[in-house]
C-alpha cells in the first residue's frame, strides 16, 4: 500500500509552498514586468533624451541663427541709416559698409563662440566653402579650412564637412553624426551628433552638437536613477507581498491549527471508538463541516452499539441454542463437517480441525455409509426426503454409537449444504434392547408367574391328596409306593417351578451386605464336588473383606450357573476352568468402562473356560430364556437368563467374550456395598 501522508503536515507544507510560491510569483511578475517596463522606459528615456538633446541643440542652433539674423538686420538697419548708398559710406563714422559689417560679423562670431550649453555644448559656424569661423568655443579668422585647423585627420574632417554641407542644404537643416574632440578633452575624439542649419544668405552653416558619450553618461545616470527607483519600488512591493503573505501564513497556520484540533477530535474518536462507546463531544468542534461529521459519527456509533448489542444477544441465543444443545449440530458441505458445536466434538471425539480434514462418511459405520451418503447427495440435489433417519457412527476411540439424524438442505456461502441435527440414541437403543429383553422376560415372567401360581396350587393338591391317601392305606399296601412316587415327583416339580419363579421375580427380597469372598468360595465348594476330573479348576481369589449388597443365594446361583455352563462347554474333553475374584474400579479401567456402569468400586468375578466357545451369530441370544445349546434332557436353558436377571437386580453387569474353539470368558461386575444396609424384616421361608 502507498505510504500515507500526514494531512496537517501536507496542508502546512503545501500551504507554505503555495503562499511562498504565490509571493514569489507576484514578486517575479512584478520584477519581470518592471524589468520589461524598465527596459521600455529606459529605451523611451533614451530616445526622449536623445530627442530632447537634439531638440536642444537645434534650438541652440536656431537661437544662434536668430541671433545672427537679428544682428544682420540690425547691421542692415544700421547701415541703411548710416550708409550712404551711392558711395557705400556710413555717414558720420567714416567707416565703409564692409568694415561695419565685418565688425558686426566679428562681434557676432565672438559672441556666438562664447555660447555654451550643457557640459560641452557650443555653436560652430563654418562657411559653406569650408572656412572655419567658430568652433570648439573659439573664433577663427575664416582664412583656414576646417580640415586645415583640425589637421590630425584632414580626410576625416573633409568628410565631416561634407556631411555638414549636405545637411545645410536641407531647408530645415539636418542632423549629422561624427566624432570630434571635446572642449574638455581635446586630446581625443568622441562621437557627436550635431544639428546643422544653413544660412545661404551668409554662406554660412551653423551647427551645434552634443557628445554622445555625454548623452550616454546622462542616459546611464538616468538609467541608474530609474533602476534605483525601480528597485525601490520592487523592494517595497516585495515587502508588501511578504507582509501580505505573512498575514496569510498567520491566518493559514491558525486555520491549520484549528483544522488539526477538529481533526484530532475526530481521529481520537475514531481511534477510541473501536474500544469504547464514547461519543464525540461536539462542543469541542469549531467548524460546521466537522461538526456534521461528528454528528453522523455519533449516530454511527449509536447504531453500532445497538447492532453490537443485537449481535451479542443473537450470539448468546446461538450459543445457548447450539453450544448448549444436547444434540450435535453442524453444517455438512463438500463432504466435510463444518462448524461443529461442542456436542459434535464430544460425540465424535474429534476436534473441529480433524473433522474438517476427514470426509464425514469415514465417521459412519461401514454398513451404513452407502445409505447416508446417498441420502446426503439426494438432499443436496434438492430431492425431498424424510428428514429423520438413524444410522451408526464410529467415534475416534472406535466405539460404535447409534444416532438419529435430522437433516435439511440449505446453502452456505452460496453453495448447497445441509444443516444437521444428530441425537445420540445409543443409550436409547440399548434401553430399547433391554426393554425388549425385559419385556420378553416380563411376558415370560408374567406367564411364568401365572403358571407357577397354578402349578403350586395343583402341586399342593397332588401332594396333599397323596399324603392323605397314604394315611388312609396301610404301610403294606403297594399303593403306598406309588403314592410316595407321586409325592416325590411333585416335590421335584415344585423345585422346577421355583426355578421358573426366579425368572419371573421382580426385585430381590433378601439384599444384605454379604462378604462376597465367602459366598463365592462356598458356591465353588459345591461346584468342586460335582466337577469331572478332566477339568482343571484354577482359583484366583483376591478379594478379602469386600462386601456386596445382595442375596447370597442368588449370588451362589450366578456362580453355579456360570460354572455349569463352563463345564458343559468342556464336556468330554480336558480343559481348564479359571475363576477369579478381584476388586475393580469402573471408569479407571478400560475393560470396566464398556460395562456402562456408573463410576465406582466393584468386584469382578471372571469365569473362564477352554471349551467350545460361543458362535458370534448366537451371542445376542445367550441371555434369552429357554435359549440353550444343551440337549432337551440336559436343561431348560434358563441358566444365563437367571444369571442376567440376578445381576441386573444387583445393579451389576455381565459381559461375555468367546472365541469358538478356544473358550469363553464371562465377566461379572458387582458394586461394592457403600454402607451397611439393614436387612428387610423377614425370615427364611420353608422351602422343601
Amino acid at each position: 500500500m502507498r505510504r500515507k501522508g500526514n494531512f496537517s503536515h501536507f496542508i502546512r507544507v503545501w500551504g507554505i509552498i503555495f503562499l511562498t510560491g504565490l509571493g514569489v510569483c507576484f514578486i517575479c511578475i512584478d520584477v519581470i514586468s518592471t524589468y520589461r517596463d524598465f527596459n521600455l522606459r529606459a529605451a523611451q528615456i533614451r530616445s526622449e533624451y536623445i530627442d530632447r538633446r537634439k531638440q536642444s541643440i537645434k534650438q541652440e542652433v536656431m537661437r544662434a541663427v536668430e541671433t545672427i539674423r537679428h544682428r544682420r538686420s540690425q547691421s542692415e538697419a544700421l547701415t541703411r541709416e548710416k550708409r550712404f548708398a551711392p558711395w557705400d559710406w556710413f555717414i558720420g563714422t567714416g567707416l565703409y559698409v564692409d568694415d561695419v559689417e565685418e565688425q558686426i560679423k566679428a562681434q557676432l562670431l565672438l559672441d556666438i563662440s562664447r555660447i555654451r550649453f550643457g557640459r560641452e555644448g557650443y555653436i560652430f559656424i563654418n562657411r559653406l566653402n569650408g572656412d572655419i569661423l567658430v568652433s570648439n568655443g573659439k573664433r577663427f579668422s575664416g582664412t583656414k579650412k576646417l580640415w586645415e585647423v583640425f589637421d590630425d585627420n584632414p580626410e576625416e574632417m573633409r568628410e565631416i564637412f561634407e556631411k555638414e554641407y549636405q545637411a545645410a542644404q536641407k531647408p530645415g537643416g539636418g542632423y549629422i553624426q561624427y566624432s570630434h574632440i571635446k572642449l574638455s578633452q581635446p586630446e581625443r575624439e568622441s562621437p557627436k551628433v550635431s544639428f546643422i542649419f544653413g544660412l545661404p544668405e551668409f554662406q554660412w552653416l551653423v551647427g551645434a552638437g552634443v557628445y554622445l558619450d555625454d548623452v550616454e553618461n546622462d542616459i546611464a545616470r538616468m538609467h541608474r536613477e530609474l533602476t534605483r527607483q525601480v528597485i525601490a519600488k520592487n523592494v517595497v512591493f516585495a515587502l508588501a507581498v511578504i507582509a501580505v503573505v505573512g498575514l496569510f501564513f498567520l491566518f493559514f497556520i491558525r486555520l491549520n491549527n484549528r483544522l488539526k484540533k477538529d481533526l484530532h477530535h475526530l481521529i481520537s474518536y475514531f481511534s477510541e471508538s473501536a474500544d469504547t462507546d464514547e461519543a464525540i463531544d461536539r462542543k469541542q468542534i469549531k467548524f460546521i463541516e466537522f461538526d456534521r461529521i461528528a454528528e453522523y459519527a455519533n449516530r454511527m456509533l449509536a447504531e453500532r452499539i445497538a447492532a453490537l448489542k443485537a449481535l451479542r444477544e443473537s450470539e448468546e441465543k446461538y450459543r445457548l441454542l447450539v453450544d448448549t444443545a444436547n444434540e450435535s449440530i453442524f453444517i455438512a458441505q463438500d463432504n466435510v463437517i463444518k462448524f461443529p458445536n461442542p456436542k459434535t466434538i464430544e460425540m465424535t471425539g474429534y476436534t473441529e480441525k480433524e473433522l474438517a480434514a476427514v470426509p464425514f462418511v469415514k465417521l459412519i459405520h461401514p454398513d451404513d455409509r452407502q445409505m447416508v451418503a446417498d441420502r446426503h447427495r439426494r438432499r443436496l440435489n434438492g430431492e425431498v426426503l424424510p428428514s429423520d433417519y438413524s444410522f451408526r457412527i464410529i467415534d475416534k476411540k472406535g466405539s460404535e454409537r447409534s444416532v438419529q439424524i435430522n437433516a435439511a438442505a440449505t446453502t452456505w456461502e452460496g453453495r448447497p449444504a445441509t444443516i444437521n441435527l444428530i441425537r445420540d440414541i445409543t443409550e436409547q437403543k440399548q434401553l430399547e434392547k433391554r426393554l425388549r429383553h425385559s419385556q420378553k422376560m416380563e411376558s415370560i415372567g408374567t406367564l411364568a408367574g401365572g403358571i407357577a401360581h397354578e402349578f403350586n396350587n395343583m402341586l399342593g393338591i397332588i401332594i396333599g391328596n397323596a399324603e392323605l391317601a397314604a394315611d388312609d392305606i396301610p404301610d403294606s399296601n403297594p399303593a403306598r409306593n406309588c403314592l410316595e412316587e407321586i409325592r416325590t415327583a411333585s416335590l421335584r416339580a415344585k423345585n422346577v417351578v421355583r426355578k421358573l419363579m426366579r425368572v419371573a421375580q421382580k426385585t430381590p427380597a433378601f439384599k444384605k451386605p454379604i462378604q462376597i469372598r465367602a459366598v463365592i468360595t462356598e458356591a465353588l465348594d459345591l461346584i468342586r464336588k460335582t466337577m469331572p476330573t478332566t477339568i482343571d479348576l484354577r482359583l484366583n481369589i483376591r478379594c478379602t473383606s469386600e462386601t456386596v449388597l445382595g442375596d447370597p443365594t442368588e449370588i451362589s446361583q450366578v456362580v453355579i450357573n456360570l460354572c455349569t455352563n463352563a463345564l458343559h462347554a468342556m464336556r468330554g474333553h480336558t480343559g481348564v476352568m479359571s475363576i477369579r475374584l478381584e476388586p475393580a474400579a469402573v471408569n479407571r479401567e478400560p475393560a470396566a468402562q464398556r460395562s456402562g456402569l456408573p463410576p465406582g468400586d466393584y468386584v469382578r468375578l471372571t469365569v473362564m473356560d477352554t471349551g467350545e466357545g460361543i458362535e458370534p451369530a448366537i451371542m445376542d441370544r445367550v441371555f434369552d430364556p429357554y435359549f440353550t445349546t444343551k440337549a432337551v434332557d440336559e436343561g431348560l436353558g434358563m441358566g444365563l437368563a437367571v444369571v442376567d436377571g440376578i445381576i441386573k437386580h444387583h445393579n451389576g453387569s455381565i459381559h461375555i467374550h468367546s472365541e469358538p474353539g478356544k473358550g469363553t470368558t464371562v465377566e461379572v461386575l458387582l458394586p461394592l456395598a457403600e454402607k451397611q444396609h439393614q436387612t428387610q424384616p423377614g425370615e427364611d421361608f420353608t422351602d422343601t
Partner: protein, 122 residues
C-alpha cells in the same frame, strides 16, 4: 372343636385342605375370595383363618389388612403359590401386615397341621 375359615379361589385346593383339617377334627368353612371370607367371618367369627394371597376380587393382602383392622385379635395363616413376584415376598408382606404364620405353596401338610394346632392352643 375349633372352627377354621379357608379362603382360596381354587376349589380343589380348598377341598384338599378341608379334608386334611377335618381329619384332625376341625370344623372348616370355605370362602372363594376375601370379600366372601370377610362376610362369613363377620357373621360367625372362626378361630383361625387360612387364606391364599393371590386371588381375584379381594386379594389376600387386602383381606388380611381388612381383617386386622376390623378384628385385631384374629389369627391368620397366609399361603401363597407366588405370581409375578416370588411367594416369599408376598408372604413377607402378609407377615408384616399381621399374619401369624406364612407358608409357600405347595404346603407340607404335617407342618401346616402342627402350626394350626399351635395357634389354636395359644
Amino acid at each position: 372343636m375349633a372352627r377354621i375359615l379357608l379362603i382360596d379361589d381354587d376349589a380343589p385346593v380348598r377341598r384338599t385342605l378341608r379334608k386334611m383339617l377335618e381329619r384332625q377334627g376341625y370344623e372348616v368353612e370355605e370362602a372363594p375370595d376375601g370379600k366372601a371370607g370377610l362376610t362369613l367371618y363377620q357373621e360367625n367369627p372362626a378361630d383361625l383363618i387360612i387364606t391364599d394371597l393371590i386371588m381375584p376380587e379381594m386379594e389376600g393382602i387386602e383381606t388380611i389388612m381388612e381383617l386386622r383392622r376390623r378384628f385385631p385379635d384374629v389369627k391368620i395363616i397366609a399361603m401363597s403359590g407366588g405370581g409375578q413376584i416370588r411367594p416369599e415376598q408376598y408372604l413377607q408382606i402378609a407377615k408384616s401386615l399381621g399374619a401369624q404364620h406364612t407358608f409357600a405353596k405347595p404346603v407340607e401338610m404335617k407342618l401346616l397341621l402342627k402350626t394350626v394346632e399351635e395357634l389354636l392352643t395359644v
